[in-house]
């Protein structure tokens, strides 16, 4: 048990250190995201100025929400550990299957490590710059900050279990581009990155709130800005737990089926 945990921890650490190497790319990415964030804020602020009706979040909260959307961009499931996808496409996954580790757990672990470092690399400098120059404020209370951290961790697990499901489908399709694009598009829309979920029509609220995508950005974002009260935390945690369970079972089920009829590409 301990040896297994150590093996996963080692896989995690190796991944984390490897992805910390690409600092220049992260810097370029940050500049890009600052631009997108500023543009989104300008558009939404113009909409705010067009109406006098009370809004589900204040302008300050909206600004914070948009910046968190940019900071947590790498939580999006279109971003998947490239090596996992290449392993399947090239047939190297066969070596992984020989190892005395559970493949699904291994994938989730690696994806989580990759994702965590990618998010941290972008989020920390972005939040500092946005905080100093572009109106990102600190959470209104310690409780809000704690709820944000907790739900961000939850987002990490949900995103990685979903990414594992996408990765498994590569076993049938070889090229993951199509599936990844589809999932990515839906996720961008329903996680609140394109339009904050609070602005969606009332009839759609119960639906979008129960999709796993809301957990990847909207929920942490709303806790951070205080747009969601702390009392909502247990419900969101429960939703997250259910989705992690569902996505894990789905991923494992698909993987088991895929392994039964696995074709290894290459000699």
């Amino acid at each position: 048990m301990i040896a297994t945990a150590q093996a996963y921890a080692a896989a995690w650490g190796a991944r984390f250190r490897a992805s910390l190497q690409y600092r220049a790319a992260a810097l370029a990415g940050m500049a890009t995201q600052l631009f997108w964030g500023l543009m989104r804020i300008m558009v939404l602020a113009a909409f705010y100025r067009s109406t006098t009706a009370p809004q589900p979040m204040s302008v300050e909260q909206m600004v914070g929400y948009v910046w968190l959307g940019q900071a947590l961009l790498m939580m999006q499931p279109w971003y998947i550990d490239r090596e996992i996808l290449e392993e399947v496409a090239s047939g190297q996954v066969a070596y992984q299957l020989l190892r005395p580790l559970d493949l699904h757990a291994h994938w989730v672990c690696r994806d989580m490590a990759n994702r965590a470092s990618a998010v941290l690399l972008r989020a920390v400098p972005l939040c500092i710059v946005a905080g100093i120059f572009f109106g990102l404020e600190a959470p209104p209370s310690v409780g809000a900050a704690a709820a944000f951290l907790l739900t961000t961790l939850l987002a990490l697990v949900v995103a990685s279990t979903l990414a594992a499901v996408v990765a498994v489908t590569t076993m049938w399709t070889i090229s993951s581009l199509g599936v990844r694009q589809m999932v990515g598009t839906v996720a961008m829309m329903f996680s609140g990155v394109v339009v904050p979920l609070a602005f969606f029509p009332a009839w759609s609220q119960p639906i979008v709130a129960n999709l796993p995508f809301a957990l990847m950005m909207d929920v942490p974002g709303r806790f951070y800005t205080g747009a969601l009260p702390l009392a909502a935390l247990p419900l969101e945690l429960a939703r997250g737990a259910v989705w992690i369970l569902v996505l894990t079972l789905l991923g494992r089920g698909l993987l088991a089926r895929a392994q039964r009829r696995l074709v290894i590409q290459g000699g």
Partner: protein, 267 residues
């Protein structure tokens, strides 16, 4: 000249035949592209449903801005794929091969591929234009058609120019820079709305540095028969056929400069 056009025709026919070998894949990728670009439209609809109007602009009017901009970008994107992927060409040293051929490298890159799946964006641009026209009861007089056509062609030229500049930078950096996406994809995103909603610095960037406002915003103003809230004279809408080719020419000059600077990475 005729010889050159025939050559481009040959290249494109070969490219199309190649893509047609994978018909199902092409169809799926086009659909995925339609969906991916369609979320912007969905986002617009959600925001307008919530806020009602945007600084006096209606959804139908914004749909015209959206349609013109996206039609232009889809054309530029289909032709500019060679430039878009130029980074990998430099990195692998395969650019040397282009240099050996008795034609200009810019021509070869532009002719390299006509990416059919990008037509997904064109399709939804047309949907937006038709929907906007119907809602507004817009009458496309010959003059307005000319305005619309020159706007699309002019903006497409500016976008191609941007892709060329992006590729040119790779002569120095070897790597394609993600930052340039802020001007290409960011430009499309920004021009989907009337520029009046943006802050001054942002409008200046997209008027003087990247003259997309002249090719997207002012012509559409004239089509909608609205006076410029910023007080610009109406003839600004007719500058597109001048501004577009000029920016493209400027980008190609830069390309020549970069090409002279090129040092192969391969052997």
């Amino acid at each position: 000249m005729r010889d050159t056009l025939a050559l481009i025709g040959h290249y494109y026919r070969a490219s199309i035949r190649g893509q047609m070998q994978y018909k199902a894949s092409l169809l799926l990728l086009t659909l995925a592209h339609l969906l991916a670009t369609g979320i912007d439209l969905l986002g617009l609809a959600v925001l307008f449903a919530h806020f009602g109007q945007l600084r006096g602009w209606t959804l139908a009017e914004v749909a015209i801005f959206y349609g013109i901009t996206n039609a232009a970008f889809s054309l530029a994107d289909a032709v500019g794929t060679g430039f878009d992927r130029f980074g990998t060409l430099v990195k692998s040293g395969r650019f040397d091969r282009l240099l050996l051929r008795p034609r200009s490298t810019a021509l070869q890159l532009a002719a390299q591929e006509l990416t059919l799946r990008r037509s997904g964006r064109l399709l939804q641009a047309l949907v937006a234009l038709v929907a906007g026209t119907v809602w507004l009861g817009l009458r496309w007089t010959p003059l307005k058609l000319a305005l619309g056509a020159t706007a699309v062609m002019g903006a497409a030229c500016v976008f191609v120019g941007l892709l060329v500049v992006q590729a040119t930078l790779a002569f120095w950096t070897t790597e394609s820079l993600e930052v340039m996406n802020t001007m290409t994809y960011g430009g499309v995103q920004a021009m989907q709305y009337p520029v009046t909603i943006y802050d001054g610095w942002f409008r200046k960037v997209f008027t003087y540095m990247v003259p997309l406002a002249l090719t997207c915003y002012y012509p559409v103003l004239a089509i909608l028969e609205r006076a410029d809230p910023l007080g610009g004279p109406p003839w600004l809408g007719w500058l597109s056929p001048l501004v577009g080719p000029l920016s493209c020419a400027g980008a190609l000059l830069l390309w020549r400069l970069g090409e002279r600077h090129y040092a192969s990475t391969g052997s």
